[in-house]
Amino acid sequence: EAGVTQSPRYAVLQEGQAVSFWCDPISGHDTLYWYQQPRDQGPQLLVYFRDEAVIDNSQLPSDRFSAVRPKGTNSTLKIQSAKQGDTATYLCASSSTGGLTLYFGAGTRLSVL
């Protein structure tokens, strides 16, 4: 069984540039999470979906961040105008209905210069 796939693995941007991260969850997992993990900190929940619906995006900076999961499978997280404070690893995780284990992808390491 394939795990959670994320791309790209690395991204380096100048402030003000845009970037998109892509996530393919484990097949059949209906719940998908995006976490931001700054260096030396734990993952911080940004947004999560059940199927195509956003369940909680209260921690997503809505002025610059957006996330979609249009068909309830793959998901894209976009930063419109990156800031240095966005430098972090962005982790995607998925879980099955009623399953409580989060399966994480390898993450995208973002550096904003």
Partner: protein, 113 residues
């Protein structure tokens, strides 16, 4: 504020020793508690978890203790081994319904041979 807090950023123990990692949480609604293990440049993976209907769960050298009244849970590792060297992240959340999970900042554990 931070929903889940780990008190120790780092710990060092001699091989064979016993250690305890601690985690405090804020939300009374949380009913699922977990410890994830993260090696450098790898994503977190589930180590052990417990639901709120039990006070303790043991899996080999790893035991989770839950104190709901104190909003506290801990991970005990016995007979520590060099391969236990990693970052340990505690996580808590609502296991039913929302299934949202919050992580602590992590404790970096070093086991000295």
């Amino acid at each position: 504020g931070q929903q889940v807090k780990q008190s120790s950023p780092s710990l060092t123990v001699q091989e064979g020793g016993i250690l305890i990692l601690n985690c405090d949480y804020e939300n009374d609604m949380f009913d699922y508690f977990a410890w994830y293990k993260k090696y450098p440049d790898n994503s977190p993976t589930l180590l052990i978890s417990v639901r709120s209907n039990v006070d303790k769960r043991e899996d080999g050298r790893f035991t989770v203790f839950l104190n709901k009244s104190g909003k506290h849970f801990s991970l005990h590792i016995t007979a520590s081994q060099p391969e236990d060297t990693a970052v340990y992240l505690c996580a808590a959340g609502e296991g039913t319904g929302y299934q949202n999970f919050y992580f602590g900042k992590g404790t970096s554990l070093t086991v000295i041979p």
